[in-house]
Amino acid sequence: MARLDVEIGNLKLKNPVLTASGTFGYGEEFADLIDLNRLGGFIVKGTTLNPREGNPYPRMAETPSGMLNAVGLQNKGVDYFIDNIYPRIKDIDSKIIVNVSGASTGDYVEVCEKLATLSAIEAVEINISCPNVKQGGMAFGTSCDGAASITKAVRKAYPKTLIVKLSPNVTDIASIACAVENEGADSVSLINTLMGMAIDAERQRPRLSTITGGLSGPAVKPVALRMVWQVAHAVKIPVIGLGGITNGTDAIEFMLAGARAVQIGTANFIDPTVTMKVIDEIDNYCQRHGVNDINEIVGII
């Protein structure tokens, strides 16, 4: 077995496979089906200061090789997470990262301050890229100034590993990545979903209640791979790649393009055991290619 452990700032992962926020619940939903302890880590559902009901149904539409979602950050708020969910998952032997979203800088800071007190949460992923909320979300992530200001504020308040999740719905993602790196982010993860739309021609209606939504799944992989490669060449901090990964080969492609770790998202819906297969396939790839340490292949393209 090759060495698969990687580091994202101070966060040490036993392997580079994480699950993407919003696609894996709080991990426990998958406990019957996989060994959660084998994951490098899992990133729990986008968490906000106050509870959010999210957007009206319908929130999902399947599209060729992908899906649109418009969940809109439904969650019960950070206090509920801390009191009710955290105690149930904190002893899983895998890194737990909380994805954080907010409508204002103050929201992000307050949520991160609360999370900083939890010993089993060693990192947060700041979501400045949700396309499905009216306030905050992607509005912060589509300008260098917005991305920088959130990062700066959270950095002051949060001492542990700070990952910033970037939106692909921008002209130059590398410049946004540089902006958050300059303000002290430990890592960037990309890509969040691509803004898209689906129409039911027979009913002459949009398929989502919000009209537009976020596209994910294999359809976005080439775009994600390109952006990871661009960002990895622009920043020195570790990059976490995601977007349409469904197997070990996809994961290796992201790592070759410069990702230190990867996230599996939509593929969890297609095969809830996919993460285990990706870990095995990465190891198998290393053996076939004589790679002793997965870090050797990161960013060789």
Binding site: L33, R59, A61
Partner: protein, 258 residues
């Protein structure tokens, strides 16, 4: 109830009409079927040639523990389900199961009516049989557009009294389940699965007559596990996942006021 991800071999595939198919499935690894409750569902991977990516939620129609067979009644509702009903014995499908909560059993003193419309009759067969096994007496009220859309009537008739309606009057009483004469028969518990307008109409009648009523929803789903939050229904508790907190809801949990 513990969830499993398993390959199943198609043992029987019966085309009931151009739009409906019946699949008899057995775990490919020779294992026994897992425990499953009536009203629960499974998520089936559509055959690759359909080009469909996400699993499709399908009601558990019947479970034959003696022969280790899981029966699914599938309506052709698009590319994925069209490919499913074309599966043949020897084919393999991957299934995530069992999912969701299931129906609540009535009390011994209850007089339960199980109302199904179209392919919504599917979960009522396993539920009715389970009731019979427990000494309860289910009756069925089954509706469809036309005689050719009535599904599995002979199977229901073996389990309990079965009343039929068709919109065009080609079988049973003409009209909708909500104006069938049997509906006034003093039922104390109603279970309903079918198109949303039908379930809403049944729920309205149940509320008017103060009859306890459960309905089974089929919102569009992705994960089936309560993780993606795509299939939500707005309830008295806010938006909840139909896949994990449903698919069966008591109507007093739903915001169906029309």
């Amino acid at each position: 109830m513990k969830k499993y991800l398993k390959d199943f071999s198609v043992i029987k595939s019966v085309r009931l009409s151009s739009d409906y198919g019946l699949l008899g499935l057995r775990p490919s690894d020779g294992s026994d079927l897992p425990e499953m409750a009536p009203g629960q569902f499974v998520e089936v991977t559509a055959p690759a040639e359909s080009g469909v990516m996400l699993r499709r939620p399908i009601s558990i129609h019947d479970v034959d523990f003696e022969n280790n067979l899981l029966w699914l009644l599938v309506r052709n509702a698009g590319k994925g389900t069209a490919a499913m009903i074309s599966l043949q014995p020897g084919d393999t499908v991957n299934i995530l199961l069992p999912l969701g909560n299931g129906f609540t059993l009535p009390d011994k003193s209850d007089k339960p009516l199980l109302i199904g419309g179209g392919v919504g009759v599917a979960p009522l067969l396993y539920f009715g049989k389970e009731m019979s096994r427990k000494g309860l007496m289910p009756s069925f009220l089954l509706g469809a557009r036309s005689k050719s859309d009535l599904l599995r009537i002979d199977c229901f008739e073996k389990v309990g009294p079965t009343y039929i309606t068709t919109e065009d009057g080609t079988e049973g009483e003409k009209g909708f389940v909500t104006n069938h004469s049997a509906l006034t028969d003093g039922w104390t518990k109603i279970y309903c699965c079918g198109p949303v307008p039908m379930m809403k109409a049944v729920a309205r009648i149940a509320r008017q007559r103060d009859i306890d009523c459960e309905v089974s929803l089929e919102n569009m789903m992705a994960c089936g596990l309560g993780a993606c939050l795509c299939c939500v229904e707005n309830t008295v508790k806010g938006n909840v996942c139909v896949c994990s907190e449903g698919p069966v809801f008591n109507i007093n949990q739903l915001l169906w006021q029309d």
